[in-house]
């Protein structure tokens, strides 16, 4: 095997032509391209698939266009709680976190769980504590919040028939 391949996604949902503004369309494509660059550069340089997928996801976690990390959607209580997982096919090792609130890159925390803990899956405040104890970069809740996601939450809460985004309008 000498070749390499990277495939990414930024979420699925009801986005169709005309629903997304030109600006949002362009921002989405630019965000995807930046993630491909980050992961592709690692693979092009002979790096590992594991490093490549973490790098690509970190770029999208920092991009407010996507529902992950900065730009995540809000819970009904108006908080942001992130989930992430990573898995290495060569040894089927894996790490995952759920409900983290103060870790900038949840995917890197998942990798830290995989690499430097006896566990696979940590959740909630314990996972954030593990992050602090292992020097995984912290972020204030405000880092994750965006005006558009707050608007989307208000829209959904104003419609009690759809208590959450079951129709995946926000992907």
């Amino acid at each position: 095997m000498t070749g390499w391949t990277l495939v990414i996604h930024g979420g699925s949902g009801s986005m169709t032509r005309g629903v997304l503004s030109t600006a949002d369309d362009n921002a989405g494509r630019a965000g995807l391209a930046a993630a491909l660059d980050a992961g592709g550069d690692i693979l092009r340089g002979g790096g590992s698939a594991l490093d490549a997928v973490e790098a690509a996801v970190r770029v999208m976690e920092d991009d407010p266009v996507f529902n992950a990390g900065r730009g995540s959607v809000f819970t009904a209580e108006g908080r942001i709680e992130c989930d992430a997982a990573i898995m290495d096919g060569s040894g089927r090792t894996a790490g995952a976190v759920a409900g983290v609130r103060t870790t900038r890159h949840p995917v890197s925390l998942a990798r830290e769980v995989m690499t430097n803990s006896a566990h696979v899956f940590l959740a909630g405040a314990g996972a954030d504590s593990f992050a602090r104890a292992h020097g995984v970069e912290a972020a204030e809740p405000a880092w994750f919040e965006t005006v558009e996601r707050r608007r989307q939450l208000d829209e959904i809460l104003a419609n009690p028939d759809a208590p959450f985004d079951s129709g995946m309008k926000y992907g």
């Binding site: 095997m1 495939v7 989930d83 995946m168």
Partner: protein, 135 residues
């Protein structure tokens, strides 16, 4: 939700998924993304998979692991296994999509929603990105 799957020049595969979940979620609701075998799975004998969508359905079907099992046990291609699982998801009323790549370098995506943010690049293919289903 965002995700990435890759195969490197040594033939190893890996998968990663990250999400804020669903807008307006309550009671600590967690979807498929962090559940190994549901929204995220990687096995050098089969493929790496990352999913997005109505997480409850991906959890119930164990989509990411099921794709790897069908490839490993029946010899199905990555493409066909991905297609089969999205079809099965749809039959249950689930909506969403997934990306997958095999150790042979074949990368694919499949989804039953109007759109999915997606992209791919390889050692023998220029980078390409897309959003709408008809791209």
């Amino acid at each position: 939700t965002v995700g990435a799957v890759a195969v490197d020049s040594a033939g190893h595969v890996a998968a990663a998924t990250s999400t804020g979940g669903l807008t307006g979620k309550r009671w600590g609701r967690v979807g498929d993304s962090p559940l190994i075998g549901a929204g995220t799975y990687a096995d050098d004998r089969a493929a790496a998979v990352s999913c997005t969508g109505a997480g409850e359905f991906f959890i119930r079907l164990g989509v990411a692991h099921e794709i790897c099992a069908r490839i490993r046990l029946t010899g199905l291609s990555v493409d066909d296994a991905a297609r089969e699982m999205i079809a099965e998801l749809g039959v249950m009323g689930g909506k969403g999509g997934l990306i997958a790549v095999g150790p042979d370098g074949v990368g694919t995506w499949n989804f039953n929603t109007p759109g999915m943010y997606r992209g791919r690049v390889s050692s023998h293919r220029q980078a390409e990105v897309a959003i709408y289903g008809d791209e």
